[in-house]
């Protein structure tokens, strides 16, 4: 009995190694996902980009993903599992994977890593992120135009710079239309929790907000806005089917061009560690069609989009006045510099909220 079990195990091992050998000439590309691939938001967009890779490179690559990987002690193991399964290029698609990715990268210098939205790099670890605040600026213009109550509702995830810069860009844009505009903020303290997100949207609407914006990943807020006859912006992905009469536009994470470029570099042997921070001009994200708004508002949005893409409109153009009424130091000459935006840790004037942890 024991012998036959051993034989079975050996046979299985053999089968495993044979299949590994036939796949050896393919480039193996791995992904670590924060949410389930069906979250219809952040992770879903990465998954779409992975599918685009498969379509683009076909038999030349083999992709693998691990979904729902928590940003805690399990992340390092999950990344290392992908390395040990032979993946040579690994995308870790959430900020919380930064330190685990770095640890594994140091251990495996011959494997290349791509970490989304972080700031630590190594010679075999790149980072990539998008200037989403550009899209938030356009949304701020639309929101101020469309709001009758003059109150915008904003569902924040975590008070990290990416989110804070989005709130500020929204406010700065909205103030150019309506200097007295108000933004109400609720911190959900989660990226993905449809129940909490829906509660936040309800609370904001009850407080008088008639345009809902979100930095969380599910379409729950869009559904609530739709039910209550209010307007909203999607997040990460196209959410119009959750609010056909509610969605004004959505910031779409379009990772496919970047992923294709990086895989191509890996296949050509030209991959090197880089820090990519792309905006509308480099197609790191896109705006969903402008819907449920009159033509003049649509025109404002389209003009702003064109100007941001061309680089003639800077959302954080100096002078930027902080919440305390003092002018923020202008390190970038005509606008705040990259470091100030990537590490943004203050609110601009007019935001009636206290930054958590300050």
């Amino acid at each position: 009995m024991r012998k036959s079990l051993l034989a079975l195990a050996a046979g299985l091992l053999l089968a495993g190694s044979v299949s590994a050998a036939s796949a050896a000439d393919k480039l193996k590309v791995g992904f670590i996902y924060l949410g389930p691939i069906g979250d219809l938001g952040w992770t879903y967009q990465h998954e779409l980009a992975r599918q685009a890779l498969v379509k683009e490179f076909g038999d030349k690559i083999e992709t693998t993903y691990l979904e729902n990987v928590p940003e805690g002690p399990d992340a390092e193991r999950a990344i290392e599992q992908l390395v040990r399964a032979g993946n040579k290029l690994i995308f870790t698609t959430s900020f919380g994977y930064m330190d685990p990715t770095l640890k594994v990268a140091k251990k495996y210098p011959n494997v290349h890593f791509e970490h989304a939205t972080g700031y630590k790099r190594d010679k075999n670890m790149s980072t990539y992120s998008s200037k989403w605040y550009q899209g938030r600026y356009i949304q701020g213009l639309i929101a101020a135009k469309m709001s009758k109550s003059g109150v915008l509702g904003y569902i924040g995830s975590f008070p990290i710079p990416e989110v804070v810069s989005g709130i500020n860009a929204t406010m700065l844009a909205a103030q150019t239309i309506n200097p007295n505009i108000k933004v109400k903020i609720i911190w959900a303290n989660t990226w993905f929790d449809p129940g909490k997100e829906a509660d936040a949207a309800k609370a904001l609407i009850d407080q008088g907000a008639d345009v809902i914006m979100q930095h969380t990943d599910s379409p729950a807020a869009m559904q609530i806005a739709s039910e209550r006859g209010k307007l909203a912006f999607g997040q990460d992905s196209e959410m119009i089917k959750f609010g056909p009469k509610a969605q004004l536009t959505s910031i779409l994470d379009t990772w496919a061009p970047y992923y294709i470029a990086r895989v191509k570099a890996e296949l050509d042997g030209t991959w090197k560690s880089e820090d990519t921070w792309g905006g509308l001009d480099s197609h790191m994200f896109a705006m969903a069609p402008y819907t449920n708004m009159p033509d003049d508002v649509k025109k404002i949005a389209e003009d702003a989009q064109a100007a941001i893409t061309a680089g003639t409109l800077q959302p954080f153009k100096c002078p930027v006045i902080g919440q305390d009424g003092k002018e923020v130091e202008c390190k970038g000459g005509t606008s705040l510099d990259a470091g100030q935006i990537l590490g943004m840790n203050f609110y601009v004037k007019g935001i009636d909220d206290k930054l958590p942890g300050k």
Partner: protein
């Protein structure tokens, strides 16, 4: 006609030992059918889940790393549960231990503090976990408040405290406002056992905890007291055992172990304090405690086994492209069968015919 569970007059020890094996066997049969339905080779899939992780040193290390906090917490919980004290808040005690220990790490960061840092962190974490667990215990003893509710609610308090600290006072000054402390200094880090691996000193501590618990329960009067108070409260009262005192004691011990597990996790595999340091260890440990039948050795095995299903699940996702959902179904089915088999050791099904009872009542 009615189907009821009836308590068996006596339980068979052989069956009690074989029951987990029956459960695993049933799980394998069910999963084989499921794999076949979704078009995966069942043999290869089961191999990826159960055999592959046991065949290389790396996976074995990872299993030990994953099982370490689960086993430590579950041992403490088993003492509570044996004494009929229902500590559901190990997750909170885990977090408070992590916070308390990290306090030393954060305050000594960048100084020339010596080798005392890590031991001090471990001691403080255990003390903090114990004190935190004493809150529900004392509320129970003094005011009769349900310890199930109070200990559970304190989990959220601990969670929010940790959240506040890493977003506010303890935030890494060079961390772009992201919610995390700086990486701990080497003197504040749990040493690794194998160069280049992840196995750390915590696993040894967990083994010592298991051994101590086995001795406590098997060889000491205190252990006897715990078991009697839980199994036969009336007899215990006649015997002069103080149930309230035991609630306090077992809560303190389980809080200390959870707190210790918390700081070991933070100063070990994670390396800094951040939100989300626990993927629900404190709750998973409840399952581990019961899977291990509240027996120290059983808990060790159950912890390792549960860790195996996590590691195996990842390997199945990678090697066979089996979705994570299937792994969760798999874990669920396993627990279902274990509990079902356990119930059937103690109880048996019986058909009851109500009409006959009515007739008898009338007669």
């Amino acid at each position: 006609m009615q189907l009821v569970l009836e308590k068996r007059a006596e339980r068979s020890n052989t069956i009690a030992l074989v029951s987990p094996l029956i459960a695993i066997g049933l799980t394998i049969v069910t999963m084989t059918i499921l794999f076949a339905i979704i078009g995966k080779n069942p043999l290869l899939a089961l191999h990826a889940y159960f055999i592959a992780p046991l065949t290389d040193g790396y996976s074995l290390q990872e299993i030990a790393v994953k099982a370490t906090p689960l086993v430590m917490i579950a041992i403490g919980l088993s003492l509570c549960y044996l004494a009929n004290a229902w500590n559901i808040g190990a997750e909170g005690q885990f977090l408070i231990g992590a916070v308390a220990g990290s306090w030393i790490a954060v305050k000594t960061q960048g100084t020339d503090a010596g080798v005392w840092v890590l031991p001090a962190m471990l001691v403080l974490a255990a003390a903090a976990g114990a004190l935190y667990a004493l809150i529900p215990a004392i509320c129970k003893v003094k005011f009769g408040a349900s310890e199930i509710l109070t200990s559970l609610m304190l989990v959220y308090v601990a969670d929010l405290l940790l959240d506040y600290l890493v977003r506010g006072p303890w935030r890494d000054p060079n961390g772009f406002n992201f919610p995390t402390t700086a990486e701990f200094d080497p003197v504040a880090t749990v040493p690794l056992l194998i160069e280049g691996g992840r196995l750390h000193l915590g696993s040894i501590i967990a083994l010592l905890v298991v051994a101590s618990a086995a001795i406590l329960l098997g060889r000491t009067i205190k252990g006897f007291e715990i078991r009697v108070v839980g199994a036969a409260p009336r007899a215990a009262r006649f015997g002069g055992f103080n149930a309230n005192q035991l609630i306090i004691l077992t809560f303190a011990v389980s809080g200390a172990l959870a707190g210790l597990a918390g700081i070991i996790e933070v100063a070990g595999p994670v390396g800094h304090l951040q939100p989300g340091i626990s993927p629900g260890y404190g709750f998973t440990a409840i399952i581990v405690a019961f899977l291990g039948r509240l027996n120290p050795i059983g808990i060790l095995i159950a912890g390792l086994f549960l860790a195996l299903t996590f590691i195996g699940g990842e390997q199945a996702q990678i090697a066979m492209k089996i979705p994570l959902d299937v792994t969760k179904v798999f874990q669920g089915i396993l627990l279902f069968y274990v509990l079902a088999c356990d119930s059937l050791i103690l109880y048996r099904f019986k058909l009851v015919f109500p009409n006959r009872q009515v007739a008898r009542g009338a007669g």
